[in-house]
């Protein structure tokens, strides 16, 4: 392999089905994932709007609810079980089909091979399979709404015995079974994806693409894929055992002596805590699966638009690896009040606080990247900077929740809800927005509307702070999460004003997203045609046409001679040096 490999030029398959449906082209698969996530995020957002509406108007009769869920909202009045099932599907769809799918499988599939100078992923057919398995998982999940009893109501964490006993509530029958099946399928799809990503990054980098020259986005996908590979197998096993408890009469998670609906169950010997351990062993790394690609992307975007090298590239990579390792040793902080050993809790909390250190490194290095730059205020930059602001805002509440002492009050209140929405539901999504605005010209050959994009950013940024800051406060007042209404408790009645405010802010923020949708679809067909390298960025995807040809580099494998962030190099006429430039 001393000569640059002479790769034959491949033409795209001609048939519509092979080209756009069962395609093995990483770019088409990336777009498929992107649109699957877009559909999912819309569904998830509409579910959350329905929930917010119900929380503030618990007695309202809504025709739309009745049309959508004739059983759960007879006469338009939402039942508690319907509310809880909306909540369960909202959480599941957002965590798995949006936050895991868009940044990693969507943008990762599209841009990983382009950024490392490869023609495709290492296993194109496996790639196709993993998309269609994800698709099937989504169909199975949504099907839960339409079976008897409706969707499950145990939340995305599905704690047994509630999730293990079909008699424990409506939705805990067929709906719950479908939920488990969906999660199992998603695990399989993610494992296939992880194997593909790792192999691609190890084997298919073009000549000169050393590890230290890889864009931080690639590092983000690499670390994320490693976490996925190690975490999803555990969830898969845990899900199979839960299924057996429900179907085969085993008792892995169900202890003896349970009385459900006045009936003594036959189960004996299991442990509800066991599921929590297994679930969070996967679940905490999952949080980083959602955020790490965004971290990589933000580093990339800040550097491009500040026209300045990333501040502390090695520290950024080290911090990502440290976050990955620490992400595996802190699962117990989700279980401080679960009845786990109090000694374990202390150990977990010390480890949890340690994660603050690499997180702080990332934050300050992002600011350090902007420091001394010559910042171009384009929409992707705004979203990346917004990510930094929200990452701080969402991460800082982790200092409270990571202490078992403080968790004694805050656990399962709206403080937690606000915390993880700020970091996963908003910061991570800002990463996705930044990626969309940044790479849109490359994906579709056209530019998104700049003024609309900026308006979208500013209004969303204001909106999310308006939603989630008061929500922290509501949590401090002790408001438990996962309540369909607040009528039963005196202390919750006093919080009605706060909830109304939060709901209004949520409607506003959701409405603003119409700007994004309009901009996205309008620009796809009518946007200004984009140059090959509109942002004057250095990485390899900008060396090819927009959109890239079927075989990416036209059969010529590129060669890399530079690091990924050579901006404003002294002595150069242009303020950027492409990675492929000698």
């Amino acid at each position: 392999m001393s000569e640059p490999a002479a790769v034959p030029v491949h033409h795209a398959p001609r048939g519509f089905v092979r080209r756009y449906i069962f395609s093995t082209d990483h770019k088409v698969i990336g777009l498929q994932y992107f649109f699957l996530a877009l559909f999912s995020v819309l569904v998830g957002m509409l579910l959350s709007l329905a929930m917010r509406y119900h929380l503030t108007n618990p007695d309202a009769k809504v025709r739309l609810f009745e049309m959508l869920w004739p059983d759960g909202a007879a006469g338009g009045l939402m039942t508690p079980e319907l509310y809880l099932s909306l909540m369960t599907i909202h959480g599941t769809i957002m965590v798995f089909f949006v936050l895991t799918t868009a940044p990693q499988s969507g943008f990762g599939n599209y841009f990983l091979p382009l950024q490392i100078g490869a023609e495709d992923m290492a296993f194109p057919v496996l790639n196709m399979l993993s998309f269609w398995t994800t698709f099937l998982a989504l169909v199975v999940l949504l099907a839960a709404f339409f079976v008897e009893g409706g969707a499950p109501l145990g939340g995305w964490t599905a704690y047994p015995p509630l999730s293990a006993i079909p008699a424990a509530g409506p939705g805990q029958g067929m709906g719950m079974t479908l939920w488990i099946a969906s999660v199992g399928l998603f695990c399989v799809a993610s494992l296939m994806g992880a194997i593909n990503f790792i192999t691609t990054i190890i084997d298919l980098r073009c000549t000169g693409m050393t590890l230290a020259r890889m864009p931080l986005t690639v590092w983000g996908w690499f670390v994320t894929a490693i976490i996925s590979l190690l975490a999803f197998g555990v969830l898969l096993a845990a899900a199979v055992l839960l299924l057996l408890d429900r179907g085969a009469g085993t008792s892995f998670y169900v202890p003896g002596g349970l009385i459900v609906n006045d009936r003594l169950l036959d189960h004996k010997g299991g442990s509800p805590l066991l599921w929590q351990h297994l679930f969070w062993f996967f679940g905490h790394p999952e949080v980083y699966i959602a955020i790490l690609p965004g971290m990589g992307l933000v580093s990339q975007v800040l550097s491009v638009f500040a026209r300045k090298p990333v501040f502390g590239y090695k520290a950024m990579v080290t911090a990502m690896l440290a976050i990955a390792v620490l992400g595996f040793v802190v699962w117990g902080h989700h279980m401080f009040v679960s009845g786990m050993s109090p000694y374990s809790a202390i150990a977990f909390s010390v480890l949890t606080m340690t994660i603050g250190v690499p997180s702080a490194i990332k934050t300050f290095n992002w600011i350090g990247t902007l420091w001394g730059g010559s910042i171009r205020f384009e929409t992707p930059l705004l979203f990346a900077a917004g990510f930094v602001s929200l990452f701080v805002a969402g991460g800082i509440s982790g200092i409270f929740l990571g202490q078992p002492t403080l968790d004694l009050y805050l656990h399962d209140t709206y403080f937690v809800v606000a915390h993880f929405h700020m970091i996963m539901g908003v910061a991570a999504i800002f990463g996705i927005f930044a990626a969309t605005y940044y790479w849109f010209p490359k994906m579709f050959g056209r530019s998104m509307h700049s003024a609309l994009g900026k308006a979208h950013f500013y209004l969303t940024f204001i909106g999310v702070y308006l939603i989630f800051v008061p929500m922290h406060s509501v949590g401090l007042a002790g408001n438990p999460r996962r309540y369909p209404d607040f009528k039963e408790f005196e202390f919750l009645a006093e919080l009605g004003g706060a909830h109304t405010f939060i709901s209004l802010a949520a409607y506003f923020t959701a409405a603003v997203q119409l700007l994004f949708l309009a901009n996205l679809f309008w620009s796809m067909w009518k946007g200004r045609p984009a140059a090959a390298n509109p942002w004057e960025a250095t990485t390899l995807e900008w060396t090819v046409a927009s959109p890239p040809p079927h075989d990416n580099f036209g059969g010529v494998t590129p060669q890399v001679h530079q690091g990924a962030y050579e901006y404003s190099v002294p002595g150069r006429s242009r303020d950027y040096v492409m990675q492929s430039e000698p």
Binding site: G117, I195, A248, L274, V577
Partner: protein, 209 residues
């Protein structure tokens, strides 16, 4: 800034080359093995956890037939791994016929393992063992036993099918030496898992005289 091409190519991680000097399929199989290891490890830790939590755990396996059977099954599996090594070796030396023969021997080992295992399952079921109860006490004994050995047996069965496809292809002149090696990796992994199932599930539950 620029590094000469030769200097870059000398380093395995510099791109344009495969750092582990192996095909992507082989690396992919290794990665699959990592994730599957964690799935099996999860089941084994679940078993350990539940067994530690149980007030008493059944120890119903007598030397004959239980332990004797399981020991013979272990021998069969180890021997089949060895024949697989010989199959991979034959293939790497270009001897397709011998490769097919050795893979066939491996498959026979796998089938024998499944047959012995099913016989054992049948006799345990005849004694009254179920996933939800058993005559000796803690109901989770049956649940963990059937789940762990069942998942392992599924892997063996899938392996036999996989090797069948490989053998048929090799006989018709398809597949490279590395393809055979990759299937061998999977087979050895199934063997490796059993090295933990055997002591944990069987030997820790022998009925001591």
């Amino acid at each position: 800034m620029s590094v000469s091409k030769a200097a870059v190519l000398d380093r395995p991680w510099a791109g344009g080359t495969r750092p582990f000097a192996m095909g992507s399929k082989k690396l992919g199989m290794w990665l699959f093995i990592v994730s599957d290891t964690l799935t099996f490890a999860t089941l084994l830790i679940v078993y350990t956890y539940l067994r530690m939590a149980a007030p008493s755990w059944p120890t119903p396996f007598h030397f004959s037939p239980g332990i004797l059977f399981a020991t013979v099954m272990t021998f069969v599996l180890l021997a089949s791994s060895f024949t697989m090594v010989l199959g991979v070796r034959a293939m790497s030396e270009g001897d397709r016929k011998a490769a097919v023969r050795w893979i066939g021997a491996t498959m026979t080992g796998g089938l024998l393992f499944i047959a012995l295992h099913l016989t054992e399952w049948r006799s345990l079921i005849a004694e009254g063992m179920r996933p939800f109860s058993n005559p000796w006490g803690d109901p989770l004994f049956g649940a963990t036993f059937f789940t762990i050995t069942g998942l392992h047996m599924t892997h063996v069965a899938a392996g036999v099918l996989y090797l069948g496809v490989i053998a048929a292809g090799v006989a018709r002149g398809r597949f490279s030496a590395e393809d055979v090696e990759v299937s061998g990796l999977y087979w050895h992994f199934v063997d490796l898992v059993w090295m933990f199932v055997f002591p944990l599930v069987y030997l820790m539950s022998v009925s001591l005289p």
